[in-house]
């Protein structure tokens, strides 16, 4: 019997859970090791999920090794699935009638995603969902989420600062935590989660298990910290708009917009209108990013022609403007933009330096 409590079971129960999802007809998207990188891909067998592997992340560096206990998120975020990088929106025939691509949005389960990525979905819910992006909503409606809490955050993770991890708070169907080799703690987060868990061989967690569980998560949360606090951060950053830090960091930046692309919440897009030989046209939406030169370019000028201004906009958007726009931070602390930055720039350091600059000038 399962209701909204905390349960524990053996590792094998995860396999059952995975299979249950498949049996219910879900397309299961899960971490999967491919060419030495943990991707987020469709997975057809539980054995493909890289339990027993660990990733090692650092600014501008990524690798995996076998034998580690805990994998974390790789370069792919749920954004890739819910908000595809390239989407044909419609075609116009020469007589202006509209033709929609017949896209299929199959019911999808995200399995073993991380709390930061879960949080990124709730950020997207406020952004894309809030503005009613129909493509997003069509996929989102049918999404089921099984999240794996983080016992061992990585070196670029700072979810506990951002308040998004290492333990998932809400918005999931099931959250599980691997405590040791054969002990898994489960928590349902929705009716569907309760229903799925009832099919497993699990029991209410004993006090001992609970203690272990809380300890593990507490420990983890001490690790996933950034060298800054959220309190007053938006205001402090806005006071730092003229800080030289942005210019200094931008010296090392390539402006490749890789961070925009890997960030699980960056949502900007470009619209590409293309004529067809028959006199009609097609409109395509592709991911864009504020690092790209043309992003703020208009006929006759560019509002952010210098890279430092683009860099500053990005940092400010994530940590200040976003809060004003959507009531949450635009960053979930996943650290992707740090690991996957080919220049190895560490966002946490930038923020820390700006805050220091502001404080040194008596601001805040």
């Amino acid at each position: 019997m399962v209701s909204g409590g905390i349960y524990s079971g053996k590792f094998g129960e995860l396999r059952k859970l995975f299979n249950a999802l498949r049996l219910r007809g879900y397309r299961v998207i899960a971490p999967k090791l491919e060419d030495s990188v943990i991707r987020l891909k469709e997975v057809t067998s539980f054995d493909e999920v890289p339990y027993g592997w660990e990733d090692i992340q650092a600014p501008g560096k990524y690798s995996v090794r076998e034998g580690g206990k805990h994998f974390r998120h790789g370069p792919d975020a749920p954004k890739r699935i819910l908000y595809p990088p390239r989407l044909e929106l419609f075609r116009l025939r020469p007589d202006w009638s509209v033709e929609y691509p017949k896209e299929r949005f199959p019911p999808t389960a995200l399995f073993a995603i991380k709390p930061c990525d879960l949080a990124s979905i709730s950020v997207m819910d406020r952004v894309q969902g809030g503005i009613g992006d129909p493509y997003y909503l069509a996929l989102r409606k049918k999404l089921i989420i099984i999240v794996e809490n983080c016992v061992e955050p990585g070196a670029t993770c700072f979810c506990s600062t951002m308040g998004t991890g290492p333990e998932a708070r809400d918005g999931f169907d099931i959250a599980y935590t691997r405590l040791d080799d054969d002990l898994v703690v489960f928590r349902p987060g929705s009716d569907l989660g309760v229903e799925l868990l009832s099919e497993l061989n699990i029991e209410p967690a004993t006090d001992e298990v609970l203690r272990k569980y809380y300890d593990a998560l507490k420990n983890a949360s001490l690790k996933a910290k950034a060298p800054f606090e959220l309190e007053r951060l938006p205001d402090e950053l806005e006071l730092g708009l003229n800080s030289p830090v942005f210019k200094e960091v931008a010296e090392r930046c390539f402006g490749c917009a890789g961070c925009n692309m890997v960030c699980p919440t960056c949502f900007c897009f470009d619209v590409i209108d293309e004529p067809e030989l028959d006199g009609g046209a097609v409109r395509v939406r592709v991911w864009d990013g504020c690092f790209s030169y043309t992003y703020a370019e208009v006929a006759g000028g560019n509002f952010r022609k210098d890279l430092w201004a683009r860099y500053r906009h990005w940092v400010l958007h994530k940590f200040a403007y976003w809060v004003r726009q959507f009531g949450v931070f635009g960053c979930v602390g996943c650290g992707r933009c740090i690991t996957w930055c080919p220049a190895g720039i560490d966002l946490r350091e930038t923020i820390k330096s700006v805050v220091e600059w502001v404080r040194s000038r008596g601001g805040s």
Binding site: W96, D133, C290, A296
Partner: protein, 275 residues
């Protein structure tokens, strides 16, 4: 199988009239598609040329017959093709979008319009509105500057603005080129020349950003406060409805929080370099 209809779909509108306003500037009067809501002064539409692309263009008039005018300056790829369109052609439209001028807040007050170049286009509906509801507003002052006399918009009705009761019209050009009775210099130079009552004026500004910054400084000098100043901003736009992210200015999406903003609202960001 599921077909998802998105937003961002232009609907066909017919061009009913085209007026050449100035070199490289033309006004298109459009018969809008069914269901198109009446635009408010300061709002804009996304105009689309089949296969060419889409541009945000302010509504510059709504005629008695319900045609919606757009005054377009050739600036780049889309506007260049758009400007070639002629009567009978069909273009795509979406809108109206954005928040317009504070015509409600300005009821009972004096209205000061400061426009530079193409910036008069989004303000023309304000002039029209005041003209049609003359009793509701105080003094109307129109300060308008262009590069040269031939670049002035709406030449055929500009002078008529001056004959709207209780209205002052002052013109300025950067360079006179031929006979010219108005001011030569910056449009901002007209501010001290105009008769402005700082206690009861609402200022509405549209033009290039530096012109707007100078204007604000001048308005401070004559005693206007931030909450009396409104300006219409321009940013790159790819969607017009707050989805694509491009038009952000600080935390604001110019397309949906603007394009018209009270100055106090955006002051913190508006003056920051390359914000």
């Amino acid at each position: 199988m599921e077909v998802v209809e998105g937003r961002l779909i232009p609907k066909p509108a017919v061009i009913e009239d085209v007026v050449d306003e100035a070199p490289n500037v033309r006004t298109f009067y459009l018969r809008m598609p069914e269901g198109y809501p009446e635009p408010k002064p300061g709002q804009f539409n996304e105009l689309y040329v089949m296969g060419v692309g889409e541009v945000p263009i302010s509504v510059s008039d709504v005629t008695q017959e319900g045609l919606v005018a757009h005054t377009v300056r050739v600036a780049g790829r889309v506007t260049e093709v758009l400007a070639e369109a002629s009567v009978g052609d069909v273009i795509g439209v979406r809108g109206p979008y954005g928040r317009g001028w504070p015509i409600e807040q300005a009821v009972g007050k004096d209205v000061l319009i400061v426009a530079g170049g193409i910036g008069l286009a989004p303000l023309r509906p304000v002039i029209r509105h005041i003209e049609r509801n003359r009793a509701k507003y105080g003094k109307l002052t129109i300060l308008y500057g262009a590069r040269a006399p031939r670049h002035l918009l709406y030449k055929y009705e500009l002078e008529k603005y001056a004959s709207i009761p209780n209205t002052e019209l002052l013109l300025s050009v950067d360079k006179a080129e031929g006979p010219w009775e108005g001011h030569v210099g910056f449009v901002t130079d007209l501010i001290p020349k105009a008769d402005i009552d700082p206690e009861r004026t609402i200022a509405m500004i549209c033009g290039p950003e530096i012109m707007m910054r100078f204007t604000i400084k001048r308005l401070y000098e004559v005693g206007l406060k931030d909450n009396q100043i409104y300006l219409s901003l321009e940013r790159r736009m790819r969607c017009g409805v707050g989805l694509c992210g491009h038009c952000q200015m600080g935390p604001y999406f110019v397309c949906k929080h603007g394009p018209v903003f009270p100055h106090w609202f955006i002051k913190k960001y508006f003056w920051v370099e390359q914000i």
